[in-house]
Amino acid sequence: MNWSAPDDRRYTETDEWIMIAGDTAKVGITDYAQDQLSDIVYVELPATGASFDTGDIIAIVESVKAAADVHMPLSGVVTEANRDLEDQPDKVNSDPHGDAWFIKVKLHHPSKIDALMDSEAYAHHCAARNN
C-alpha cells in the first residue's frame, strides 16, 4: 500500500511533517500516521505561545483504537493552533497534509530542517515498517 509523502516538506521518524512557509513553519501528521490510527475522533492541541524543544509532545491524536503523541520536529514557539481540528477531527484523515495542519511555529533554528528526512527517505521508512 502506498502513502502519499509530498516532496514540499520534511518528515520525522515519528510520522510528523514540517513545512516552512516564509517566516513560520507548519506541522502536521502524515498520511501514513492517519492510516495507522484509522478514524480520528479527537485532537488535543497546545496553547498558543507554548514553547517546545525537538521531540517534545505537542499534541495528542485519538482514534477509536489508539492514541498517539505528536512530537515537535524542531524546537520553537507555537504561533497558532488549528482549532478547526477540535470540531472536525476527521479532517486529519481526509487531508493530513493540507487542511489538517496542527500548528504554526516560529522555529528557533530553521536551518535544521535540512537534517530531517525528505520525501523519498520517509517513503522508505514507511515501507520498512509495514510488512
Binding site: 475522533v41 479527537y42 485519538e62 482514534s63 477509536v64 483504537k65 477531527p89 476527521d90
Partner: protein, 503 residues
C-alpha cells in the same frame, strides 16, 4: 417489524410516566421533623415506572447480552469458566450478607475465619509467605504490588531504583500501574519464541531497576522457557519480581509462582477462581508475597489473635503490617467475592485445582490443533491454557480480526480477545477454559474454519457481519466523535468555570 430507527429496548426514562412508582415504603412511624427547606432539592430527574415495567425492562435488556450462561466465551486471559450457582447462594447467606464492615470483630468471627482460611489457601496455591485480600481487582493488586516493591527499596535506603522492566506483551494495566506508582517503565522485547529476550533483560538490569513485571504464562499463552534464569538475573541486580497472575488457570497445582522465585503476585479471583464477571466487575485481586515483602502488605490483614484450644476455635482479628503501604480501599476488600472463591476452592481441593489446569491446557491445545492449518500461529510452541493466532491472511488484505470476530457472533459465539497482545498483528487470543465440552470446542473450530473459507471466497459475509445479533455493527467512531454519555441534559455547563489549566 421493528423500525430500524428505534432502540431494541426503550430507555428506562422513556418508560417513565409521572406519578408511577415501583415500590411503596411505610409512612414514618416516628414524629416528623421539619426538613431543612433551604437545603432541599427542587427536582430529581429519576424515572417513574411500575415494578412490572422495571422487571420487563431489565429482563429484556439482559436478553440482549451474550454471557457464559448463554454460550461459549473464549476471551483470552479472561478465563470465562462456568460460575457455579452455589457460590451465589453462599455469598447471600444472611450471616454474611447483612454484616457491617465496622462491626466489633467479636461479632463477625465467621467472616474473619473465612477470610483467614482463604488467605492461607491462596498462600498455599501460589507458594507465598503472606497474602492480602484487600485489592479489589487485578489492576488494584498490581498497584499494591508495585507500591510494595517501591517501599521495600526505600526502606533499605535505596532511592535510586526507579525503573520497572515490562515485556512488550504485557497487559496495559502493567505500565499504567507503574506510572501510578511514580516509577518509570522500560519495555523489554520478546524473542522469536515469545519469551522475554534474556540478552536484553541482562543488559537492562542495573542498580536503577526496582523490579520486573512478568505474566507467566504470558499473554501469548506461552510459558517463559527461561523463567528461572530471568528471575535470577533480576534478583542478582537487586530487583524484585512481580507476577501478573491473570493466567494462573494454567498453573494451579502445576507449579507455584512463589517456588519459582516471584516476590509478589496478584490473583484474579474473577478469572482463576470462577467468581462471576458481572458485565465488567466486581473482581477481586488479592496479592501474595514472599517473606521479604510481608511487612509492606496492604492494611489490614486478618490474623489469629488468640490460638484455638480444645473447646474454642481461634479468635480472629485484624492487624496492620508494620511497614504497610497503606489502605487500598475502604473496609475489607470485596468480601462477597471472597466468599465465592472460598466456596470454589472448597469444592475442588488441591487435586481438583490441578485437574482444572490440566483440562484448561488440554482444551486449548486441542482447539489449536483444529485451527492451526487455517490460521497463522506466530509462535510455534506448545501453548498452555490459551493461544494467539493472527486474524488475517496475506492474500485477503481487506479482512481483519475485527471482521472474523463479528462473524463469529452470527454462529452464536462470543468473539475471542481482539488486538491483544500488541506484538501480534490482528491478534485473536483464544482461551476455552476447562469447563467447555469437546462438542463445544469442535463447533467453535468448525465455525472458525468456515469463516476462514468465507474470508477467501465471500469476504462480504464477514464485512457485513454481524447479521443475527440484536444490533448490527456499531459505529464506534461516531460514539467517540459525538459524545452522548447521559440521556438528559438537566445540568448544562457550570456558568462559573474553574481554572484554565494553562494558568
Amino acid at each position: 417489524m421493528i423500525s430500524p430507527n428505534k432502540r431494541e429496548e426503550p430507555l428506562v426514562y422513556e418508560l417513565s410516566r409521572p406519578g408511577r412508582r415501583g415500590i411503596q415504603f411505610p409512612d414514618p412511624d416516628v414524629p416528623r421533623t421539619k426538613l431543612p427547606s433551604s437545603l432541599l432539592r427542587e427536582d430529581l430527574n429519576l424515572p417513574e415506572i411500575t415494578q412490572l415495567d422495571a422487571v420487563r425492562h431489565f429482563q429484556r435488556l439482559s436478553q440482549l447480552n451474550h454471557s457464559i450462561d448463554s454460550g461459549f466465551y473464549p476471551l483470552g486471559s479472561c478465563t470465562m469458566k462456568y460460575n457455579p450457582r452455589v457460590n451465589e447462594d453462599a455469598a447471600r447467606i444472611p450471616g454474611f450478607l447483612y454484616t457491617h464492615p465496622l462491626q466489633d470483630t467479636n461479632t463477625v468471627q465467621g467472616s474473619l475465619a473465612l477470610m483467614h482460611e482463604l488467605q492461607e489457601w491462596l498462600k498455599e496455591i501460589g507458594g507465598f509467605a503472606g497474602v492480602s485480600l484487600q485489592p479489589a481487582a487485578g489492576a488494584h493488586g498490581e498497584l499494591s504490588g508495585i507500591l510494595m516493591i517501591r517501599a521495600y527499596h526505600l526502606a533499605r535506603g535505596d532511592k535510586g531504583r526507579r525503573k520497572i522492566l515490562i515485556p512488550d506483551s504485557a497487559h496495559g494495566t502493567n505500565p499504567a500501574s507503574t506510572t501510578m506508582s511514580g516509577l518509570e517503565l522500560i519495555e523489554l522485547p520478546s524473542d522469536k519464541r515469545g519469551n522475554v529476550d534474556v540478552k536484553v533483560l541482562r543488559s537492562a538490569c542495573s542498580e536503577n531497576v526496582a523490579g520486573l513485571m512478568i505474566t507467566n504464562p504470558n499473554t501469548l499463552g506461552l510459558f517463559e522457557e527461561h523463567i528461572e534464569e530471568v528471575v535470577d538475573i533480576v534478583h542478582d541486580c537487586g530487583g524484585l519480581i512481580y507476577g501478573d497472575g491473570a493466567n494462573m488457570n494454567a498453573l494451579t497445582g502445576i507449579v507455584r509462582p512463589g517456588d519459582l522465585g516471584f516476590d509478589v503476585m496478584h490473583y484474579n479471583l474473577h478469572k482463576t477462581f470462577s467468581t462471576p464477571h458481572g458485565g465488567g466487575g466486581p473482581g477481586s485481586g488479592p496479592v501474595g508475597v514472599s517473606e521479604r515483602l510481608m511487612d509492606f502488605l496492604p492494611d489490614p490483614l486478618v490474623t489469629i489473635i488468640e490460638d484455638s484450644d480444645e473447646d474454642e476455635p481461634p479468635l480472629y482479628g485484624f492487624k496492620t503490617p508494620p511497614k504497610t503501604i497503606g489502605r487500598m480501599k475502604a473496609f475489607n476488600g470485596q468480601f462477597g467475592t471472597l466468599v465465592r472463591a472460598y466456596a470454589y476452592i472448597r469444592a475442588h481441593g488441591g487435586d481438583g485445582l490441578r485437574g482444572n489446569a490440566e483440562h484448561a491446557v488440554l482444551n486449548a491445545n486441542y482447539l489449536l490443533s483444529k485451527v492451526r492449518d487455517a490460521y497463522h500461529l506466530p509462535f510455534e510452541r506448545t501453548c498452555l491454557h490459551e493461544f494467539v493466532i493472527e486474524g488475517r491472511w496475506r492474500d485477503v488484505p481487506n479482512v481483519h480480526a475485527l471482521d472474523i470476530s463479528k462473524r463469529l457472533m452470527d454462529y452464536g459465539f462470543h468473539p475471542p480477545t481482539n488486538y491483544f497482545p500488541l506484538i501480534v498483528k490482528e491478534a485473536l487470543m483464544i482461551e476455552p477454559t476447562e469447563t467447555e465440552s469437546r462438542e463445544t470446542l469442535d463447533a467453535f473450530a468448525d465455525a472458525l474454519l468456515e469463516i476462514a473459507a468465507a474470508a477467501h471466497n465471500n469476504p462480504d459475509e464477514l464485512r457485513t457481519a454481524p447479521q443475527t445479533t440484536p444490533v448490527g455493527r456499531i459505529d464506534e467512531v461516531r460514539a467517540a466523535r459525538n459524545l452522548v454519555l447521559c440521556c438528559h441534559t438537566q445540568y448544562p455547563s457550570n456558568p462559573d468555570p474553574s481554572a484554565d489549566p494553562e494558568s
